[in-house]
C-alpha cells in the first residue's frame, strides 16, 4: 500500500517538472515565470487544486506516441483570490512549446464548463506556440471547442486573459473573446499571422514587437486593456482587478470594508474647471477624488485616451467610471474612444456594476479619417450600450455636453437614473461660436453684432439651467460635494429593477 501511495507522489513530481529543468531555466532566462509559478503567484497561497495533471495526448502520428509529457502543455484547475473562487488555465511553454492538442483543449474546456456551472470567473494565462501541427484537424477542433465555451460563458462569468509569451494564430481568438486582455511588456506578443508570413504576403519587414508587442496592442490597436512590466506585476494586478469583479452575472459586485467617509468633501474640485473654457484639466483627478481611497483601476489607459474607463469603489462596492478626458483631444468622442467605452459599459451592464459617468464632451470628432473609418457605427455602439444598460446609471456633467455627444453620454434621455450638472456645465446643442454663426447667419459680416450675439448665447444657453428647467438634469450640484451626491444617488438605486423587452439578443451595430 505504502509504495503505491508513494508512486502517486512520484508521478506528481514528474508532472510538475513539465518540460524539464533545462527548459524551465530557459523560461527564467527569458524573464518569464513558468506556468506553474504563474498560477502560484496569481492564487492565494496553497489554494490551487489542479485537475487533469496526468492527461496525455493521444496522437500517434509523426512519432508523437514516443513523446508524452503528463499535463500536455497546460495546467488547469481552480483556486481562490482573496478567498473567492476562480478557475485558471496556464499554458506551459516548456511542454511542446505550449502547443494545443486535442487533450490540451479538452482540459481547458473542462474548467471553462465548471466555471459556468459554478458561477466563477476564468483567468487564462497564454504562453504558447499555437496549434500542435502533428495533430492536424484535431487541434483545430480543440480550438473551436474553447471558442465555443468562451462565447457561451460571455456575459455569464467574467473571463480574463493574460498574455505572457507568444500568442499567435488560433491562440489569439480565445483571448479576443474574453472580457479583458492584459499583456507583459517585452516578453509577450500577439498576432494572427507572424512576421514571416507578413513578409511573404505583403512584403512588410516587421519584428515580433512592432507587429504584436504590448506597445502595439495597448496603444495602437486597442486589443489589450493594459500592459505590465513583468509577470509578477501583471499577476499582482490580476488579483487587484479580480477584487473589483462579481463572480458571475447572478451576483452583485463584491463589497469590502472601506475607511473612506461617504460624505468626504473635496474643496479643490471647486477649482478643477479652468477659467478658460478651452483649457484642459485632468478628469482623472475627479475620479480619484470621488472614488474610495482614490483607488482606480484604469482599463486601456493608453488607447483612446480621450475617454477614461475603469473600476473604482464607492462605499466599498464596485462601480464602473466612464469619463471624457479633456487632456486628450479635448475629450472628443472618436472611433477609438467610442469603441473602448461601449465595450466597458456593456461589461458593467452584464455584471451588475453601476456606471458613474463624468461628462465633458465637445462632440464627435470631425474629419474624413473618422467618417471613412465608420464613426457613425462606432459612435452608435456607445449610444447603444448606454441606452440598453439597465444597471444604475449616475451622470455628472462637469463642463461641455454638446450636441449628439450629450445624448450619448448617459443622458436622462437614455434612461440615466440620476443626472447631475456642475454649475460650470454647458449643456447645449453646440458651442456659442458655432451656434451664433448658424442662428445669426445674416450678421456674419458684422463682428460687433456677432460678438453681441455670442455673449447673449453664452449668458443664456451655455449653462446647466436650460436643461435643468426642463428636467433633463435632476440637480445642479457643487463640485466639492460630488462624492457625497453620487453615493446618495447610488444608494437609492440599489434595488433598481428595469428589464429590456424580451428578445433573443439585440443587434448592436458591430
Amino acid at each position: 500500500m505504502q509504495d503505491i501511495i508513494e508512486q502517486l507522489e512520484a508521478r506528481r513530481e514528474r508532472a510538475r517538472l513539465g518540460g524539464g529543468k533545462q527548459r524551465i531555466e530557459r523560461q527564467h532566462e527569458k524573464g518569464k515565470l513558468t506556468a506553474r509559478e504563474r498560477v502560484e503567484a496569481l492564487l492565494d497561497e496553497g489554494s490551487f487544486e489542479e485537475y487533469d495533471m496526468f492527461v496525455e495526448h493521444q496522437c500517434a502520428d509523426f512519432g508523437m506516441q514516443e513523446q508524452k509529457i503528463p499535463g500536455d502543455g497546460v495546467i488547469t484547475g481552480q483556486g481562490t483570490i482573496n478567498g473567492r473562487l476562480v478557475y485558471v488555465f496556464s499554458k506551459d511553454f516548456t511542454v511542446f512549446g505550449g502547443s494545443l492538442s486535442k487533450a490540451h483543449a479538452a482540459k481547458i474546456v473542462k474548467v471553462q464548463q465548471m466555471a459556468v456551472r459554478n458561477g466563477a470567473p476564468v483567468i487564462g494565462i497564454f504562453d504558447a506556440g499555437g496549434a500542435r501541427i502533428q495533430e492536424g484537424v484535431d487541434s483545430l477542433a480543440g480550438y473551436a471547442d474553447i471558442f465555443m465555451e468562451n462565447v457561451l460563458s460571455s456575459g455569464v462569468i467574467p473571463q480574463i486573459s493574460v498574455i505572457m509569451g507568444p500568442c499567435a494564430g488560433g491562440d489569439v481568438y480565445s483571448p479576443a473573446m474574453t472580457d479583458f486582455i492584459f499583456m507583459v511588456k517585452d516578453t509577450s506578443y500577439m498576432y494572427v499571422t507572424g512576421p514571416d508570413v507578413v513578409k511573404t504576403v505583403t512584403n512588410e519587414d516587421v519584428s515580433h514587437e512592432s507587429l504584436g508587442g504590448a506597445s502595439v496592442h495597448a496603444k495602437k490597436s486597442g486589443v489589450v486593456d493594459g500592459a505590465f512590466e513583468n509577470d509578477i506585476e501583471a499577476l499582482v494586478q490580476m488579483r487587484r482587478i479580480f477584487d473589483f469583479l462579481p463572480l458571475s452575472n447572478k451576483e452583485r459586485p463584491p463589497e469590502r470594508p472601506t475607511f473612506d467617509l461617504p460624505d468626504r468633501e473635496e474643496p479643490s474640485l471647486d477649482s478643477l474647471i479652468p477659467a478658460n473654457p478651452n483649457s484642459p484639466y485632468d478628469m482623472k483627478e475627479l475620479i480619484e477624488k470621488v472614488a474610495d481611497e482614490g483607488d482606480f483601476f484604469e482599463i486601456s489607459p493608453d488607447f483612446g485616451a480621450n475617454i477614461i474607463v475603469g473600476f473604482g469603489r464607492l462605499e466599498g462596492s464596485t462601480v464602473g467610471f466612464v469619463a471624457n478626458q479633456p487632456m486628450t483631444l479635448a475629450g472628443v468622442l472618436d472611433i477609438d474612444a467610442s469603441r473602448k467605452a461601449a465595450r466597458f459599459v456593456r461589461f458593467c451592464d452584464c455584471f451588475n456594476i453601476p456606471i458613474v459617468t463624468f461628462v465633458d464632451v465637445p462632440g464627435f470628432m470631425p474629419g474624413t479619417k473618422q467618417e471613412y473609418g465608420g464613426l457613425i457605427k462606432h459612435g452608435a455602439k456607445l449610444l447603444f450600450a448606454y441606452a440598453e444598460a439597465t444597471v444604475p446609471k449616475v451622470t455628472v456633467i462637469t463642463r461641455k455636453a454638446y450636441g449628439g455627444a450629450y445624448d450619448v453620454m448617459s443622458s436622462k434621455h437614455l434612461r440615466g437614473d440620476v443626472n447631475y450638472a456642475w454649475p460650470t456645465a454647458e449643456i447645449a446643442v453646440m458651442g456659442a461660436k458655432g451656434a451664433v454663426e448658424i442662428i445669426f447667419r445674416k450678421d456674419l459680416g458684422d463682428p460687433e453684432k456677432i460678438a453681441e450675439h455670442t455673449k447673449m448665447y453664452e449668458d443664456n444657453f451655455a449653462n446647466p439651467y436650460v436643461a435643468a428647467r426642463k428636467g433633463y438634469i435632476d440637480d445642479v450640484i457643487r463640485p466639492h460635494s460630488t462624492r457625497k451626491r453620487v453615493i446618495k444617488a447610488l444608494r437609492s438605486l440599489r434595488n433598481k429593477d428595469v428589464k429590456n423587452p424580451p428578445k433573443k439578443h439585440d443587434n448592436i451595430p458591430l
Binding site: 478567498g83 473567492r84 494586478q237
Partner: protein
C-alpha cells in the same frame, strides 16, 4: 494707524501681510492679475482690484494700475511685499506725489542703496566693513604684490571682464601673485581683449550673513540680529536660519551696530536688510549690499525675536515712533526656514508647473520639541503657473536650540505633502540630516560641495531602513487584512500570514509580522523586534505614528506594484510579498533600461524657444540643441554625447510635455 491699505503683491507675501492687517484691524485691498483671480490672497482680502493680464510686466509692475487701484478703493498706503515694485524708488516717489504712503523706506534710501557702487561708498563712509581691494589700474607685477600685501592674503586677482572661472586666480602669498598676475593679465588680453585687472581680498569659506534692521521716521533704528542664508543654489536661497551658527556675541554686536549705522546714514525708516559676506575661517565680515524691503526669509527673525516685522513696517509708515529698543531685543531660541519650491530636485531642480492636486502643508503649532509655522499663499487645487516665482510655501520651525529646530524642521518636512507638481521637500529634508550642515560648518558653496552631481536621493541609514521596512510591512498588513474581508468568500478569512519578505529597493528582508489594530510588531531577519503604532488608513498619503516609541512620519505613494516610500531624503520602492513570491522576484532578471542616450527629451512641460540643430547635423557632446522655457527660465538643452541628428520633432513656439521626445540622434 491706517484704516485701509493696498497690497501690491501676490501669493504668500500678500497673505502674510493680510494676516497682520487683520490682527491690527486694518482693511486690505489686494490687486490681482488674470492668473491670480481665484487666489487665496484674493479670497482673504476685504477688497480686490483686477489689474490686468498674468504677465507681471502687464499687471504687478505697472505703477499706473496700482495707483489707480489705490485711488479707486481709497486705500491710504501701499505695502509692496518683496520683488515687483518693492525696491523701485520711482514707485515710492510716485506714491509720495500722489499723497499715498509707501510702506517701505523713503525713496532716497532706496536709491542710495540701489546702486552697488554708491551703496558700498556710503557703507564705507558709515564705518561699515567693506571688502578690501584695489579698483585702480595696476602698473606691473611688483605693484600687484605690494597691493596684495596691503590687502592681506589670500587675495583674488581678477580680470575686469572676467567671468565663468576664466581670468580669476587666487594667490596666498607673494610668489603666487608673481605667477598669477601676469597669467591673468595674459588670459584677460587673449580672452576678453581687456587687460584691466583688479585685486581684492579673497574670502575663505564665504558665508551669507545678513542683519535685519528696522528704522522709523524719527531717526531711530535697531537691529534684530542676523540670519544666515548660505544654503543657496544658483544664487537662490533655499534654507535660512536665525541666528547664524557662525557668529559670537561680539561679532553679532559689531555687525548689528554697523548695519544700524548704515541705516541711520540713509535715514532708513522701514524694515531693511544689510547683507554681509562673512568668512567661516576668522569671522571677518564685509558689506555686500542693503535690501530696502521685507525679505522672503523674515519669518525666522520674527520667530526668534517675537517681533511682527510687517506690523512694525505699518506702524513706522504711519509715522509712529519705533517702540522697539535695542536693549530689549533678545534672541530666543533658533529658527530655520525651508523654501518649498515647485521644482524637481531629482532633475537638476528644473521648475515644475501645474495644478496642486494635493497640498497638505504640515499643520501649524507644536511638533516635537519645537513649533511649526507655514507661510503659504496657495491651497489644494491652485495652479502653479509659469508666470511667477516657483516658491509655493515657506516652512518655518522654531525651538530652543539649533539641533531641536533642525529636528523639528526635518519632522515637519516629512509631513508636508504635495502632489501634482514636483517639489524640493526631499532635498531640504536631506540637508537637515546631513552631517556638515548639522555641524554648522557651511559656506555659500555648500550645495555645490555636498551635491556635486545634483541630488539623487540619499541612501537609507540603518534607522531609516528599519523604519521603512516596518512601514511597508505595516501598510501591507492593513491592506492584506482588508482584502481578506471581501464578500463572496468560500471560507471565513484565515488568520493573516506572518512571514513576509520586504523588498526595499533591491534588498531582501525576511520579516515576521504580527498585525494588530493600529499597531504592528515586526521582527526583521529574525533579529531586531520593532513596534509600529499608527492610525493610518488606506487612502492616506502619510503614515504618521511612532516606531518603538519615537515619532515617525513616512510619505506613501501607491505604485502599480508595491509602495513608494519617502522619508527625509530617501525615496524607495518597497514590495512586500510571500517568501515564494520573493523567490520569483529574484528569478526575474532586471530589465534593461531603454537607451535614452539617442534621444533628447523635454525635461519639463514648457515652450520651445528655439531649436538649434537640423537633421543630418553633427553635434558634439555638450552642444546646445534647443531651448525650452518654463517659469520665466530658459533652459538650454544640450547633447549628452557626440552624434548626428536624425529627426527634430519640435519647432520654436511648440508646447512640449515632460518627457516628450524632442530630438532623435542616429
Amino acid at each position: 494707524m491706517f484704516e485701509k491699505i493696498l497690497i501690491a503683491n501676490r501669493g504668500e507675501i500678500a497673505v502674510r501681510v493680510i494676516k497682520t492687517c487683520r490682527r491690527l484691524g486694518v482693511k486690505t485691498v489686494v490687486v490681482y492679475s488674470d492668473a491670480d483671480a481665484g487666489s487665496m490672497a484674493v479670497e482673504m482680502a476685504d477688497e480686490t482690484v483686477h489689474i490686468g493680464p498674468s504677465a507681471a510686466s502687464e499687471s504687478y509692475l505697472v505703477m499706473d494700475k496700482i495707483v489707480d487701484a489705490v485711488k479707486k478703493t481709497g486705500a491710504e498706503a501701499v505695502h509692496p511685499g518683496f520683488g515687483f515694485l518693492s525696491e523701485n524708488s520711482e514707485f515710492a516717489k510716485r506714491l509720495e506725489t500722489e499723497g499715498i504712503t509707501f510702506i517701505g523706506p523713503n525713496p532716497y534710501a532706496i536709491e542710495a542703496m540701489g546702486d552697488k557702487i554708491s551703496s558700498k561708498k556710503l557703507a564705507a563712509e558709515a564705518g561699515v566693513s567693506t571688502v578690501p581691494g584695489h579698483m585702480g589700474l595696476i602698473k606691473d607685477t611688483k605693484e600687484a604684490v605690494k597691493i596684495s600685501r596691503e590687502i592681506g592674503y589670500p587675495v583674488m586677482i581678477k580680470a575686469s571682464a572676467g567671468g565663468g572661472g576664466k581670468g580669476i586666480r587666487v594667490a596666498a602669498n607673494d610668489k603666487e601673485v608673481e605667477e598669477g598676475y601676469p597669467a591673468v593679465k595674459a588670459e584677460a588680453t587673449n580672452a576678453f581683449g581687456d587687460d584691466r585687472i583688479f585685486i581684492e581680498k579673497f574670502i575663505l569659506n564665504p558665508r551669507h550673513v545678513e542683519i535685519q534692521v528696522m528704522g522709523d521716521k524719527h531717526g531711530n533704528a535697531v537691529y534684530l540680529f542676523e540670519r544666515e542664508c548660505s544654503i543657496q543654489r544658483r544664487n537662490q536661497k533655499v534654507l535660512e536660519e536665525a541666528p547664524s551658527p557662525l557668529l559670537d556675541e561680539a561679532t553679532r554686536k559689531k555687525m548689528g551696530e554697523q548695519a544700524v549705522a548704515l541705516a541711520k546714514a540713509v535715514n532708513y525708516d522701514s524694515a531693511g536688510t544689510v547683507e554681509f559676506v562673512a568668512s567661516g575661517v576668522d569671522k571677518s565680515f564685509y558689506f555686500l549690499e542693503m535690501n530696502t524691503r521685507l525679505q522672503v526669509e523674515h519669518p525666522v527673525t520674527e520667530m526668534i525675536t517675537g517681533v511682527d516685522l510687517v506690523e512694525q513696517m505699518l506702524r513706522v509708515a504711519a509715522g509712529e515712533k519705533l517702540a522697539l529698543k535695542q536693549k530689549d531685543l533678545k534672541i530666543n531660541g533658533w529658527a530655520i526656514e525651508s523654501r518649498v519650491y515647485a521644482e524637481d530636485p531629482y532633475r537638476n531642480f528644473l521648475p515644475s508647473i501645474g495644478r496642486l492636486k494635493r497640498f497638505h502643508p504640515t499643520p501649524e503649532g507644536p511638533l516635537g520639541k519645537g513649533t511649526v509655522r507655514v507661510d503659504s499663499g496657495v491651497r489644494e487645487g491652485d495652479e502653479i503657473s509659469m508666470f511667477y516665482d516657483p516658491m509655493i510655501a515657506k516652512l518655518v520651525t522654531h525651538a530652543a536650540t539649533r539641533d531641536e529646530a533642525l529636528d523639528t524642521q526635518a519632522a515637519a518636512l516629512d509631513r508636508f505633502h504635495i502632489e501634482g507638481i514636483r517639489d524640493n521637500i526631499s532635498f531640504c529634508a536631506a540637508v537637515m540630516d546631513e552631517k556638515r550642515f548639522r555641524s554648522g560648518d557651511i559656506t555659500t558653496a555648500y550645495i555645490k560641495d555636498e551635491f556635486p552631481d545634483g541630488f539623487h536621493g540619499t541612501p537609507a541609514t540603518d534607522f531609516q531602513r528599519t523604519a521603512l521596512i516596518c512601514t511597508a510591512a505595516f501598510l501591507h498588513g492593513v491592506f492584506t487584512e482588508r482584502a481578506s474581508m471581501i464578500s463572496g468568500r468560500l471560507t471565513a478569512p484565515t488568520p493573516p500570514r506572518q512571514d513576509w519578505v520586504v523588498i526595499l529597493g533591491d534588498e531582501y528582508h525576511p520579516i515576521h509580522l504580527e498585525q494588530g489594530l493600529g499597531e504592528a510588531t515586526i521582527t526583521i531577519n529574525g533579529g531586531s523586534k520593532h513596534m509600529l503604532v499608527s492610525d493610518w488608513m488606506p487612502g492616506a498619503h502619510l503614515v504618521e505614528g511612532a516606531l518603538d516609541g519615537e515619532p515617525l512620519a513616512v510619505k506613501v505613494a501607491d505604485r502599480t506594484e508595491g509602495y513608494e516610500l519617502s522619508h527625509r531624503g530617501v525615496r524607495v520602492r518597497a514590495l512586500v510579498c510571500t517568501p515564494t513570491m520573493a523567490k520569483f522576484h529574484e528569478r526575474l532578471p532586471e530589465k534593461e533600461k531603454p537607451d535614452m542616450s539617442k534621444l533628447i527629451i523635454s525635461p519639463m512641460p514648457g515652450l520651445v524657444v528655439s531649436v538649434d540643430v537640423t537633421p543630418g547635423q553633427d553635434v558634439k557632446e555638450g552642444e546646445a540643441v534647443c531651448v525650452v522655457e518654463a517659469m520665466k527660465m530658459q533652459n538650454i538643452i544640450r547633447a549628452e554625447a557626440d552624434g548626428t541628428v536624425k529627426a527634430v520633432n519640435v519647432g520654436a513656439g511648440d508646447s512640449v510635455a515632460a518627457d516628450e521626445i524632442m530630438i532623435e540622434f542616429a
